[in-house]
């Protein structure tokens, strides 16, 4: 938090002079309307989900309390386990690649060069674009016979790929879309970090004759590390949550080759209408996300400390 010494001093001196005042008072009133909304549309659904997860409930059918049966069935469900594995595979790739590219991008856009603003805007645009809309365009580009991507590959002498139409290439292809979409966010986080960096270490390193790689390795990277950690956690959470692009581009296929946890969840809930069963998936998913959010919070606190 920023300190503004002058104001603080004057305020505190006056505070002492006059009557004591409880500053924490009544602030909760400001949050009250939001608290009500958050309780009803966010916290209530959480609790309701837990309730549904211990019941056998199908749309159009009755409801039976089954205890932890749904969870037991889930653990035995091969397709669920497979979707966990696919999610992890996807997430690892969709975290590491944007972090590496985002770091490069941040270093590039940190420098001054002509049209920097314009190019940065273009670079950031994918992040804001409506996922369904771009997913549809990607899908057209992936068409194995008429897609533009295979044509571009042929121009540089690479044989055509089957993109999302093959079990072995579907995940890397979807990761590519995800990288395209979210590398800008990593770049923005790191750019914020670079902006706040001191200049002195670089100057003294230059005097000592360090080359640019050494400067990056021994000065930039350590200073940037906390921001990379934040980006890492945020990317992990986002990658776990990916739904739109997979749903539109591959629908979890071919077969179940790109059926992530989220797609599995959607299928159970809104194709098979197994509300209890899918709620159990949500509970597990939610636990993972909460754990990661707490990690994020922890990392954030540490960053503050370091910076």
């Amino acid at each position: 938090m920023t300190d503004s010494p002058a104001l603080a001093a004057s305020a505190s001196s006056r505070k002492l002079a006059e009557k004591p005042y409880d500053f924490s008072r009544k602030y909760w009133l400001f949050a009250l309307p939001a608290v009500i909304v958050v309780l009803s549309v966010i916290v209530f659904p959480w609790l309701f989900t837990v309730f549904m997860s211990v019941n056998d409930w199908k749309i159009g059918g009755g409801m039976d309390f089954v205890g932890l049966d749904n969870f037991r069935t889930l653990i035995a469900d091969e397709r669920f386990r497979e979707s966990l594995f696919i999610t992890i595979y996807f997430t690892i790739l969709a975290v590491i690649i944007p972090i590496v590219l985002g770091t490069v991008a941040a270093l590039v856009f940190h420098r001054e060069f002509p049209f920097r603003g314009l190019l940065r805007t273009i670079f950031v645009m994918p992040m804001m674009a409506t996922p369904v809309a771009v997913a549809l365009v990607w899908k057209m580009m992936f068409h194995p016979q008429l897609g533009v991507l295979n044509y571009l590959l042929s121009l540089v002498g690479i044989s055509p790929s089957e993109w999302v139409f093959s079990t072995s290439t579907v995940i890397p292809t979807l990761v590519m879309v995800e990288v395209w979409h979210w590398t800008p966010l990593v770049m923005l986080i790191l750019l914020g970090g670079l902006a706040g960096m001191p200049t002195e270490p670089y100057e003294s390193a230059k005097i000592d004759g360090a080359n640019s790689w050494q400067m990056f390795r021994f000065i930039t990277l350590p200073l940037l590390w906390p921001y990379i950690m934040i980006a890492l956690v945020i990317r992990t959470i986002d990658a776990l949550k990916v739904f739109d692009i997979i749903f539109v581009i591959s629908e979890g296929g071919p077969g179940t080759a790109s059926e992530t946890l989220n797609i599995f969840l959607y299928l159970q809930a809104f194709q098979f209408y197994k509300i209890g069963y899918s709620s159990a998936v949500v509970v597990i998913f939610f636990t993972i996300i909460v754990a990661l959010s707490l990690v994020l919070l922890y990392v954030r606190q540490k960053t503050k400390w370091n910076a």
């Binding site: 055509p160 089957e162 139409f165 071919p254 299928l267 098979f272």
Partner: protein, 452 residues
């Protein structure tokens, strides 16, 4: 606007030429007279001013239904607000909206091979028998007996309730590129096994031409497999005993045929193809044969879309080792139970499943109408765009039609579980093992649904 005066005129004209007409009518032109009669005695205008919402599935038939809306509105004064939703999304929307109890449509098209029992169990749609029996709201010419047995079997529930009027019966057949066949001097396959040999002869990947194409996408690929299975004289679930025929020798044979054709002789990416991607491949002259429903013919003969106009052959699904069948599916139109405009909705269904519209479907190549009278009309099968072979194929297929999907409630699960198994075989998995696994997963799902 058909006000009183015009219908009077019609009647007077009829009276003037009454004698000659009655003779003619007995001999050869009953359609004209009965149509005129119907208009004068049946009140199409009884729900004028209302507006009904209609949910359709995206396909060539729905295009025709939408094209006929204008005429329907002129006749009845009922406004129609309809929309076409792609198949998968429509099935989900129907489920969600019907189970919410407040569907946003009065009429819906249902895929009877998938939604028939679900719709009845979930009380989605009205039993139409009381509507048909009520002369005040049913055109005397509606003629339920005109609908083919295949269509009625799909529409009628086990206890006799009629929850939809069949609109379209789909027969699976083999589209083939006559030019390619002629060029290589190859004859139309004589049996299912023979398709492999023919595909092999026509396959030319270096020129971007493939011997065969069919759906590889999970869910959508099931009819391909069941088509082959019917060649063994079996349905996936025995309609009489309820026994699963999904992991026996015949099923494995069918899955192997499915795999061999789609893996070895189909364009790359078939694993993700639904009918539209297959259609594109065939239309662009990239595939020599395409197994699918006969209702997808319209765009093949449309010069603005197709590169194979005039070269398309329409072949009946070749016989299998033990039997010769064509996998059959059907769509019907039903009225939402929650609708408040049921009379208007019923008028819409009568009009849209009427003889004229059914003939239009046949003429447009949009598929096989559910009414038999459509075929009796000499005009209908004398199409400028479709060869005689098309109509022959239709009628021959109709003779050997057999349901392509089991009539069970968890059809979605069935299609998903076995669809994944089939898709896996395209990536190298063993058909026998995949089918065995899928059968094990599906068995409890089926048992549970039959209990509840």
């Amino acid at each position: 606007m058909t006000d009183k005066r015009t219908s009077d005129v019609t009647r007077r004209q009829l009276l003037q030429t009454g004698a000659s007409l009655s003779v003619l009518g007995a001999v050869g032109a009953p359609a004209i007279i009965s149509a005129a009669n119907a208009q004068s005695s049946f009140n199409w205008k009884q729900a004028a001013g209302q507006q009904i919402d209609v949910m359709l599935v995206k396909n060539p038939r729905s295009d025709l239904l939408q094209a006929a809306e204008k005429e329907f509105t002129e006749l009845t004064g009922i406004k129609v607000s309809s929309e076409q939703i792609p198949e998968q999304q429509q099935r989900q929307k129907a489920m969600i909206e019907f189970s919410s109890g407040r569907p946003t449509f009065d009429v819906t098209m249902l895929a009877l091979h998938v939604q028939k029992r679900l719709a009845y169990k979930g009380k989605w749609v009205e039993d139409l028998r009381p509507f048909i029996d009520n002369p005040a709201i049913t055109n005397p010419n509606f003629d339920l007996a005109d609908f083919s047995a295949a269509g009625m079997n799909f529409a009628r529930q086990a206890d006799g309730a009629l929850t939809t009027i069949p609109h379209f019966v789909d027969f699976w057949m083999l589209y083939y590129n006559k030019e390619m066949f002629d060029k290589k001097g190859v004859a139309y396959p004589t049996s299912m096994e023979n398709i492999i040999k023919v595909a092999q002869q026509l396959n030319d990947p270096s020129n971007g031409v493939y011997g065969f194409v069919s759906r590889g996408l999970k869910n959508a690929n099931i009819p391909v497999w069941t088509s082959w299975l019917l060649g063994q004289g079996l349905e996936t679930i025995d309609p009489a005993t309820g026994k699963l025929n999904t992991d026996g020798e015949a099923a494995i044979w069918a899955a192997t045929l499915y795999r061999d054709l789609n893996k070895n002789y189909a364009p790359p990416g078939t694993i993700g193809f639904n009918w539209n991607e297959c259609q594109t491949s065939f239309m662009q002259g990239r595939a020599a044969m395409w197994l699918d429903g006969i209702g997808f013919a319209t765009p093949l003969e449309d010069p603005t879309k197709s590169k194979v106009v005039g070269k398309v052959g329409y072949g009946v699904t070749p016989p299998g080792p033990k039997a010769h069948h064509s996998a059959t599916f059907a769509d019907g139109l039903g009225i939402s139970r929650a609708s408040t405009k049921k009379t208007a909705a019923w008028l819409y269904i009568q009009f849209m499943t009427g003889k004229k519209e059914q003939i239009a479907m046949l003429k447009a190549g949009a598929g096989c109408p559910a009414r038999m009278s459509a075929f009796a009309d000499p005009e209908a099968t004398k199409s400028s765009t479709f060869s005689k072979q098309y109509f022959d194929c239709l009628q021959s297929s109709a003779k050997i039609g057999r349901p392509g999907l089991p009539q069970i409630i968890p059809v979605t699960e069935f299609r998903d579980i076995f669809g994944v198994a089939l898709t896996n075989t395209l990536s190298g998995a063993d058909p026998a093992a995949e089918l065995k696994k899928a059968t094990e997963i599906f068995k409890p799902v089926l048992e549970k649904s039959e209990q509840g």
